[in-house]
Amino acid sequence: MAATARPKTMAELSPRPNVASANQQLPGVIDYEQVDRDIGGSLSPTAGWFGALAVAIVLFLWGAGAWTYQIYWGLGNAGYNPPVMWGVYIISFVFWVGIGHAGTLISAILYLFRAGFRTTIYRCAEAMTVFAVMTAGLFPIIHIGRPWKFFWLIPYPNWRLIWPNFKSPLVWDVFAISTYLTVSATFLYVGLVPDIAVLRDRATNPVRKRILAVMSLGWRNSEKEWRHFARMYLFLAAFSTPLVLSVHSVVSFDFAMAINPGWHTTIFPPYFVAGAIFSGIGMVFTIIIPIRKFFRLQHYVTINHLDAAAKLCLFTSLVVGCAYLVEFWVAWYSANRFEQQYFWNRVFGEWWWAAWIMLTCNMVFPLSLFSQRLRRNPTWLFILSIFINLGMWFERFVIIVPTLSHEFEPWQWNHYAPSWVDISILVGSFGWFFMWFLLFIKQLPVIAIAEVKEIVPPKLRSPHVHEDAIDVTGRHQAYEPDTPGEFD
């Protein structure tokens, strides 16, 4: 049997830092079997995984219970203080939709740009996208006063002969979110098909094999299939690229279309999209860094990949920071007293601390990524990513709560404090998200096997007799003896 030596570390193989690219090899990976073995191996459940899953499910059930309680008693059990009529739920909605942006960006846009470093992280990011959008989609329903009437937002023929109000950004949301969820789910699944086929072939449990067979749509690894696959994948990538921009623009309209100070500004769509990608990449770090550690995939998700992603993170952070500053400048330049008083209140008013959390976490800390050492330090990236998630949640808090609590009518200025129900449901949403994600990483490859194989050197001749090789396209190559008399 082939002796599998300890995979060489990045340092040993390529001493000087480099930028990953499409033809970037993975020096730590010897051959295809290792790919299948490593990634396939990551699928066997471990005690730690069961523990994590249990925690996630408990949190989810707790949140679900809180929601049931709220439906029975009415929204009064959430912490709304009129006129602060939107609170934790809409904040979390925007937060999760934002998370859901990095995935498609990485898998689709970077694919179109042939950015090689995406290869090893995109599957993870894409799964994250789908589950994040699934989570986000729940929040508008949790938020409304009569959830059982939610379907009224969907245009369908009915005997009342009335339709939704297509002028309302909330209706646009319904379309945007559902479209995005459908497309990104499809994209994820299509990318998965060849890998499912691999798992199918390796599966021993007959039931599991049968299920995987159905899911792999009878993938046979043939050239024709690969051609169709490549075309389909390219098409979906091109199709979902505009969605990345459109979805969060539409979400930003929820605010930009209202006349409230701090909301009614044209900068919102680009500002939100940048913020979304920023938060998404933050979440990618939060997820991929532990995975590569616990699944021992360091030689797949290399430091170079993290480095490149960190640069993207830094860039979006700069965009977001710029947007923050522009907002203040516009407020001053508008000479509009509502606007000016609001922005003063944003940083020095009742919620100064939230504003400063936002500014430091999203604007200041990421500046550390200018340092290459920190960019290539997974621990720091992980810590930073936690700060980014926090900061982006508070960005939405700062957008929503101070505006509503400090609006045109001074007589109606009020405070806001979430109730235990809000918090439970927020926590529950994390439980829900990680429940799906944990189930995913143990059922399906968290790194795209087929695409990794593309950048792994084909199996070289081995001393072992009668061994065939599979080349990049997966085509089977019979082994021909070249030393006469070998079979003798």
Partner: protein
């Protein structure tokens, strides 16, 4: 079954379910149309309307001056079914002689004492019920020439009254938007519209939400 058909099954079921859902939504399946409850007294509308030629407004006395059509007081019944003169008998109508009637006996026995003084009201089962957030002014419709039968059906022929119309919002809106043809009123009251009737334009009504919902 070839694999191709196999794959077609799942989306097929999904599509079917969707279609069913839409259909039920569109048809307003939630309506209580054709609700035909048993009433405490089997009051025969045909006898009173067709035989005796009583007008709807004789009993439903406020339909043309109030949002509420009005429900006849027991006293109104006793006006004709006079316990002293005819007792539990059906009143004598020109040629037809008075004779015993179980239902009238019910009316008198259960709801009035010997002197004819009322004891207890009749708990009629309500058939036509709009939700509380819908305000339906009867008098506007009656005075606009809408025949009672257009919404309530040919009550004068119903041995037991049932809910004739769906009373769904779409059903209201249709008439408000497209208008109500005076000729229909004639037809619904078992008349034959003249050319003049047919010439009359349909009467439209507000289709503004706040006309009914407030």
């Amino acid at each position: 079954m070839t694999s191709r058909r196999k794959w077609a099954l799942v989306p097929g079921f999904v599509a079917l379910a969707g279609a069913v859902a839409l259909l039920s939504a569109y048809s307003g399946a939630s309506s209580s149309q054709n609700f035909t409850p048993e009433q405490p007294i089997n009051f025969p509308h045909p006898t009173h309307v067709q035989k005796l030629g009583m007008n709807c407004l004789y009993c439903h006395y406020s339909a043309n001056k109030s949002p509420d059509p009005g429900l006849p007081a027991v006293g109104t019944c006793l006006g004709c079914h006079n316990p002293i003169e005819v007792g539990p008998n059906r009143p004598k109508i020109d040629s037809i002689p008075a004779r015993q009637s179980v239902e009238i006996k019910k009316l008198l026995d259960n709801y009035a004492d010997a002197s004819g003084k009322p004891k207890k009201a009749i708990p009629w089962v309500r058939i036509h019920k709009l939700p509380e957030y819908v305000h339906f002014p009867h008098m506007r419709h009656v005075n606009a020439g809408v025949a009672c039968q257009s919404c309530h059906g040919q009550v004068q022929r119903m041995q037991r009254v049932y809910q004739f119309s769906s009373l769904n919002m779409g059903w209201c809106i249709n008439c408000h938007v497209n208008g109500y043809k005076p000729a229909d009123a004639v037809r619904n009251t078992e008349g034959y519209p003249t050319a003049a009737d047919n010439a009359l334009p349909p009467k439209k009504a507000r289709y503004d939400c706040s006309a009914c919902h407030y």
